[in-house]
Symmetry: D2
Subunit: 314 residues, 4 copies
Amino acid sequence: MATFNESAAGVYLITVTPFTSDGALDLDSTDRMVDSYLERGVDGLTILGIMGEATKLTGEESRIFAGRVIDRVNGRVPVIVGASAPGFAPMRELTLSVMAMGAAGVMVAPAPTLRTDDQIVAYFDMVAETLGADVPWVLQDHPVSTGVQMATSVILKILANCPTCVMLKHEDSPGLAKLSAIRAASARGEVRRVSILAGNGGGLFLPEELSRGADGAMTGFAYPEMMVDVCRAHAAGDVDMAHDIFDAYLPLARYEQQTGIGLAVRKHIMAERGMIASATVRRPGPKLSATDIADIALLTRRQQRRLREIGQPS
Amino acid sequence: MATFNESAAGVYLITVTPFTSDGALDLDSTDRMVDSYLERGVDGLTILGIMGEATKLTGEESRIFAGRVIDRVNGRVPVIVGASAPGFAPMRELTLSVMAMGAAGVMVAPAPTLRTDDQIVAYFDMVAETLGADVPWVLQDHPVSTGVQMATSVILKILANCPTCVMLKHEDSPGLAKLSAIRAASARGEVRRVSILAGNGGGLFLPEELSRGADGAMTGFAYPEMMVDVCRAHAAGDVDMAHDIFDAYLPLARYEQQTGIGLAVRKHIMAERGMIASATVRRPGPKLSATDIADIALLTRRQQRRLREIGQPS
Amino acid sequence: MATFNESAAGVYLITVTPFTSDGALDLDSTDRMVDSYLERGVDGLTILGIMGEATKLTGEESRIFAGRVIDRVNGRVPVIVGASAPGFAPMRELTLSVMAMGAAGVMVAPAPTLRTDDQIVAYFDMVAETLGADVPWVLQDHPVSTGVQMATSVILKILANCPTCVMLKHEDSPGLAKLSAIRAASARGEVRRVSILAGNGGGLFLPEELSRGADGAMTGFAYPEMMVDVCRAHAAGDVDMAHDIFDAYLPLARYEQQTGIGLAVRKHIMAERGMIASATVRRPGPKLSATDIADIALLTRRQQRRLREIGQPS
Amino acid sequence: MATFNESAAGVYLITVTPFTSDGALDLDSTDRMVDSYLERGVDGLTILGIMGEATKLTGEESRIFAGRVIDRVNGRVPVIVGASAPGFAPMRELTLSVMAMGAAGVMVAPAPTLRTDDQIVAYFDMVAETLGADVPWVLQDHPVSTGVQMATSVILKILANCPTCVMLKHEDSPGLAKLSAIRAASARGEVRRVSILAGNGGGLFLPEELSRGADGAMTGFAYPEMMVDVCRAHAAGDVDMAHDIFDAYLPLARYEQQTGIGLAVRKHIMAERGMIASATVRRPGPKLSATDIADIALLTRRQQRRLREIGQPS
């Protein structure tokens, strides 16, 4: 399988967590979801992120879900586990537990209380120490959810300080300039090169991020084949085809990125596609209206038509 | 001209404020910009909003710019002026001044410190009193910039309390459900019907907002013809054509909506199109890189091609 | 023992969580701390709050600590457990676990994402359902930590909707007017009377809160006897003595309320007083400087002198 | 008069802005307030700060008020003017205008949008350029109102970059460690020594700040003599007397620091003392209840009694 290290590339999909209609963990759907992602060609899975409703699970449920995913994947691709936590003790507990199950690494975002450059750098020194010398990890840069803005110089310092950090999930906005700056610093030999996967919601800037030097995508979307196909076309040098594919999915990807109901949209489509049994989002969470569902149906039909027009499977 | 009242419909464009390359107000470009907007068929102009860099102008500059726009428009369409201010005295001062020049009304967003429902309702009671009985105004609902979330019930109460509020600039997200709920309340006779213009950035949800009962759009984009053409196709009942036009512009509209550099992107394209002389954003503000500009060029070429494919002028 | 219900009164102390100098749970100090609080006459204990470093504990550690406190208290006073959590499943898991151990109830603050009145009311409907019909709970109103402002009308609605909510931990600021308004609503028969304990940091407004109708205090301070003695003097009708005692402790209480280092100050004093073995705050957390410690020593000496002057034990 | 430069020391009082009972600028009270402050021995005045309701004034009112204060002071002490603004053009406009009237300098806080260290440093480079080479200014460090946390290293860099910055208004919390660190850096010759005035609300940490090397206070309180007397006792080496005076005023100073109603409390007391004619706070602003006013009366009586006990004028 592809190894989770500084050379990782392709699509690491942010998975949802399937629930039954009464809100219980749905482990059968978990298997089905894993299979459907792998069939579509993803190169890794990232579980227990924000879109995985991680904070709504008990500790026990988190471990059961992680174990089920890792077992089902069975070594075919790396599985990364979201381990951000308000304290280091729970971060370490979850990390030890999932690494023992066979996870390839974990992902950590800065604590929302951090403000100054030095505070952020010091925090990740403690994170690296907490995770231990054997656990490779992803640095998640997502100011919209954390409120923490990490300057390029801060990210470079974290990479210099923490050899176990092998990947950046890049989802700052405006992030294209930052992505270019990090790659330029590597090119000048100022910092080792790590894997950078584009994380902006639903891959909404994926073609541009790939052109700036991203190695792929780490994000979620009800049509993971979009990310896979865009990355492959781009890797094959066909930038125009990468854009054509991206543009065909963009209206629906945009609709799925609505604040608040985005996850409900994603799970609705996944249930429609048979990837999970129920679209249930755990409370407190939104429900789609009939009009929302009609919107999605219209956008899906238009997407299929457009994909056929450009000669893509739909 | 179209009247600015509860029946207003179509596209009220959020204008930029043109500066010369050394950062001075560019009044010649102001004329040119007004002309170029009106030639493209907009139904109104909204000046001195966030994207108009209002807070970077002196009081005197605000009055000069407003006067120039109003003079150039010369009654052809209504001109609305952003009047949000941390205090009521400056709000009143600017309002009196621009109404005397011929503005059709003003736009006010909730103060960022407001939290509870009652605080918000009470605030707009004071706003209405401050503006006076003769000044029609737009209620701007933009939680991303204000941090204030107004429940549907709060908006209905403001409309009930303040007869001079004639329009809602709807840019909450998720906002489609709120838009549907407000229209349903009017349909049930619970509240008078006001104009609702869709304000989500760059019109990124315009087709869906029109289907939910929006009367048009109040937002900005370097291609205002997108909003005009989408609204016209939709009004003519051709929803599919509305989507086709929208989708053709969407990749560039999305690029223009990047946090931080969005306004620089918009002004760059407007300068390229000859709508203003310089793309200058006043300090502190971003500058585009050569790579950003190359991105825009690629997206613009693709947009033109796609517009031709669907039989639209490009 | 005093029952934890709508009639609860006196001082419910917010406890710290003692750690050894290498950061492990210190269960011997836990016993010593419990004893020292009870000897000083507190009427209840509240554990695993913000000042109890709850988010820095693993699930297992939380249960061990709660069990140890409850065992040591051995029914002499009610023990309340902080159960705020980003999701309902972990909230329910912790609640069931500590209630089975003998906790008297739990405490829940609004989730930081809540904004509108209806969102807050709906959230606590779900909280009450999650906790179940047999678990009495404290509503924590602490906007400084949550960012959520609950209007008086919202609190009254929560009390009306949720019969299992028996106590309000009142720590809004400005809160005196809110406290008066809630008591007035009860007096008018608009809402059942619940216990209100004053929670403003270190009891910094305790005399005024008691005069407005608070039944006591729920907060922390290295000198819990301050709250006990102020409440007793006030209950005995000697408002002036209540103020005298309060004023004697105020300079140090103020020093302990510094953002960021407050908990380190509290634990330092508690270690000095022999209530816990080590002043350790778990990482990431502050350390006191020699100058900080000198400040505390000076304030403590002055406090003792002043207490003697007014005839209080010091 | 005392010069406003890097050696400034003593008490620079943050003034209120007096309004008549119908909300108009009260220029007679402005004169009376200036006189009453100067009679109590303050060393400077700072106008148009947050507690001066600056954002509620029109540009014209700001200039009229500043002019009146400066005229009345008539060169006896330096007058500093709050010039923070969302844009540089209005900042420059106000600065030029008040400097021409005879202001000694201006005060600027970081824009609330700033996050990373480099952004903050770059911002103040632009501020210094905007103000010009002849305008000395105060750097205001008040994270509670701005949301911007400036690391010690950032402040040192600003002082290095901007020779016209001559004073720090220190009101971070926890700020004692920062204050010590800045003084230590000066002592080591790493940065020039500037004046540091303690700004924490109402001087609530004044004795400790003076011990850490603050040159005085820049804050407001209805009893400015507290700050004057504490600073004088401290400067005379009588730290214990400084604390005695401080402690006598602390219960009322604390009451005046309540979020939301603090300014109303301050203006109420000032009106009671005859320093201004009306306690009016401009809308939107709080009103005191009868119970609030009774609280203040009780605290004032106790304060007078305690001042007599320690041999101070009351």
